[in-house]
């Protein structure tokens, strides 16, 4: 036991001290945070309100445009020529001209802007005018605004997941993002750390130090020590990432939050309508995608997701790294690894394909089976966990994964033990399967 600890310590320290590890540890959260910041920034900048001046010759549209997140309207009492001259100076982004006979000729509406008008703004104004004209025409036909309002049924479906813990509102998109992210991270890290084990084994074999080491320790101890050492490196990296990312997001959120509050205040002031301020603020809060994602994230069972993630990372990693280790032991050079890598990579790659199906249908039969079978379960089950998985399925999947990696470790150890001392021999799968049954 003491020697295996020594091996773990060496494997761990050698990797953690590497410059690439330190770089990745810092870069990881920065990348994640950067991604997050871009989404946040895009969300914030999209609610940058445009101020639009409306010169209404028809007199029918005064105060009829409804301000929303993106646009506020004011109605200066100016002629078109005056307004054209001064609207930029007065801080407007665009000027809308509505001629007298707009109801008869809706296409005569004009939009002026210093720069070209964004498509979004244009369609926004068109929609507003169109809607207004529609209302007016309906009124002319004897249908009042009240009837119209009554006729509109606001359907804003909330998705509610039913679970033992009670009803919780959830956000489908946030859950999808989280589960996809977890699955991808498991996939990538199993590959990265699995190949690290393979390279480590190959290094020892080609360096020929393996003979010195296994005259002191059992080959199985050396293999296990390496696998555990690398696993700890992976865990260290994840824990540092989680800590750094949480730190960055906490700091980042408060900065973004302040910016949003300021924006809301400004828009309320521009609108100049007392009483609307709170409504605006509330609206800003509800519509802000960052806040809503954060809210959705809060409703997810984060501790469960993180502990499942760590379990499935470890399980998946142990399952595959043992096989990667066996490949490293069986070959003499990097180029020879290709033929053996392929069959091992297949189930992982398939798992990612299954994961995409599972995201759309987390409780379908394919998602169920692939999240139970050990070779694909680490990736697919991680997709399902954020959506909620029955406890028995989780237990079954985890149990099978443990059996799975015990099995692959056993097979790998038998290949490993023969392979590390075998030089200059091109091995085939037939040969490998023979090694499994060699004795002593």
């Amino acid at each position: 036991m003491h020697t295996i600890f020594l091996i773990i310590k060496r494997e761990y320290l050698v990797r953690v001290r590497k410059r690439s590890f330190i770089v990745m540890t810092i870069l990881g959260p920065v990348l994640i945070f950067g991604f997050y910041a871009i989404i946040g920034w895009a969300a914030v900048s999209s609610i940058n309100q445009k101020k639009v001046a409306v010169v209404d010759e028809s007199g029918r549209f005064v105060n009829k445009f409804k301000a929303d997140n993106e646009t506020v309207f004011s109605y200066p009492k100016q002629s078109l020529t005056d307004a054209k001259k001064s609207f930029v100076k007065q801080g407007y982004d665009a000027l809308v001209f509505i001629p007298k006979d707009v109801i008869e000729y809706p296409k005569t509406v004009q939009i002026f802007a210093e720069k070209s008008v964004s498509l979004a703004l244009q369609s926004n104004i068109e929609r507003a005018i169109g809607k207004e004209i529609e209302t007016i025409k309906l009124e002319q036909a004897g249908i009042t605004q009240k009837v119209i309002e009554d006729a509109k049924v606001n359907v804003d479906a909330q998705t509610i997941s039913l679970s033992d813990a009670g009803e919780k509102s959830s956000n489908g998109i946030a859950t999808t993002i989280i589960s996809g992210f977890c699955a991808l991270l498991i996939y990538i890290s199993v590959l990265i750390y699995g190949t690290q084990v393979m390279r480590g084994v190959m290094e020892e074999k080609t360096n020929r130090i393996v003979e010195v080491i296994i005259s002191s320790v059992k080959p199985f101890q050396l293999m296990l020590g390496k696998i555990i050492g690398v696993a700890l490196v992976g865990l260290t990296q994840f824990l540092l990432w989680i800590a750094l990312t949480t730190g960055l997001i906490t700091v980042g959120s408060s900065i973004l939050g302040q910016k949003e509050a300021a924006k809301t205040a400004v828009s309320a002031r521009v609108n100049g309508m007392p009483g609307q301020q709170e409504v605006q603020q509330k609206m800003a809060k509800d519509k802000n995608p960052v806040a809503s994602i954060m809210k959705a994230v809060e409703t997810l069972n984060i501790p469960l997701i993180i502990s499942c993630f760590l379990f499935y990372f470890l399980g998946g990693y142990l399952l595959y790294s043992a096989l990667f280790g066996a490949i490293g032991a069986a070959v003499d050079s990097e180029t020879e690894t290709q033929q053996f890598m392929f069959p091992i990579m297949m189930p992982i790659i398939a798992a990612i394909a299954f994961a995409q199906i599972a995201v759309r249908d987390p409780d379908g039969p394919l998602a169920f089976w692939t999240s139970i079978i050990p070779f694909t379960s680490p990736v697919v089950m991680m997709v399902r966990v954020p959506f909620g998985v029955p406890v028995w399925q989780l237990v079954l999947s985890m149990g099978l994964l443990v059996l799975g990696f015990l099995g692959t470790t056993w097979i790998a150890a038998r290949i490993y033990r023969v392979g590390i001392l075998m030089y200059g021999k091109k091995v085939s799968f037939r040969e490998l399967s023979k090694w499994v049954f060699y004795k002593g």
Partner: protein, 304 residues
């Protein structure tokens, strides 16, 4: 004299190839034991079994009176033929690691290392990476790794390969010093001159079988041809026919050299008595077979 190591009827089978067939050896304590044999004879297989890297299919290994156990590895030091160290690890760290794997505590390992670093004058190497050392320097580090935990049995596979003559001599002196301290050294080599120089006992393995073993002196005695060489001036004429002149070749300065075989019932004195009156003798000596001759002869006969 007790044996530090005995192997009893070792058999090792690899798929279709039998690497060792009924190999029994006895290695006395405190000697230098040469394990000889052509390439592929099974030496490395045997060494791996002694080091518990692989297990024999049948037969047993006895170390110092006890059946080989996993914790015996602490009492064995092994220098494999294919040398290897972690290239990107520092010399000091690496040696500490290897010593700890052999069961030393970090403190013990540190103390032992200090002694060796002074002895080999490699103090400045501590923080160097292995890959920055020359091949000879790496070999020195590996030798230190082999003997650092003060094993009772040291197994060296081709210990001198890769060393320049000066360093080879340094290692040779170390081997002799280890024997002085009562350690046993098994070394496997093709270089017969080092066998001649160092070994007390030898075993010869060919085609998975042990074909010869014993003390070097006894083996040489066994392979003696009862021939003597003589450098002389004059003519060899009065020898009785029982004394067979195997070769007679002229040397410079009118000297000649002859190899003469004496009959089993005669003694060296009889030969000298016959020679002394007829020729003038410059040198005279027994033709003692070299290990090289014995090796070639025995392996050759075995292969026929």
């Amino acid at each position: 004299m007790t044996n530090i190591l005995e192997t009893h009827h070792i058999i090792k089978q690899y798929a279709e190839h039998r690497a060792l067939d009924d190999v029994s050896l006895s290695v006395p304590k405190g000697c230098i034991f040469g394990l000889l044999g052509p390439n592929g004879a099974g030496k490395t297989s045997l060494i791996r079994i002694i080091n518990q890297i692989t297990a024999p299919d049948s037969g047993e290994v006895i170390l110092d009176g006890e059946r080989l156990r996993p914790d015996h590895i602490k009492r064995i030091g092994y220098l494999p033929e294919e040398r290897g160290l972690y290239k990107k690890m520092k010399v000091g760290e690496q040696l500490l690691y290897l010593a700890q794997l052999k069961g030393l505590t970090e403190k013990q390992a540190m103390e032992m290392l200090k002694v060796w670093f002074v002895k080999f004058d490699i103090k400045t190497w501590w923080n160097k990476q292995i890959q920055d050392l020359s091949k000879g320097m790496q070999q020195k580090v590996q030798f230190v790794a082999t003997v650092l935990h003060e094993p009772d049995l040291i197994i060296l596979d081709e210990p001198f390969s890769g060393f320049d003559p000066i360093n080879a001599n340094l290692i040779k002196d170390e081997i002799l010093e280890l024997r002085e301290k009562g350690k046993t050294i098994i070394f496997s080599t093709h270089r017969m001159e080092s066998v001649e120089e160092l070994c007390d006992y030898i075993a010869l393995i060919n085609r998975s079988h042990k074909i010869l073993d014993g003390s070097k002196r006894a083996i040489k005695e066994q392979f003696k041809t009862h021939t003597y060489h003589i450098e002389y001036q004059g003519t060899l004429s009065s020898l009785p026919t029982a004394f067979e002149v195997l070769r007679n070749q002229p040397l410079e300065d009118n000297f000649q050299r002859a190899d003469i075989k004496i009959p089993p019932d005669a003694s060296v004195n009889d030969l000298i008595r016959h020679l002394i009156d007829t020729i003038s003798i410059r040198s005279f000596g027994e033709n003692i077979p070299s290990m090289n001759d014995i090796f070639i002869q025995t392996v050759g006969e075995n292969n026929d």
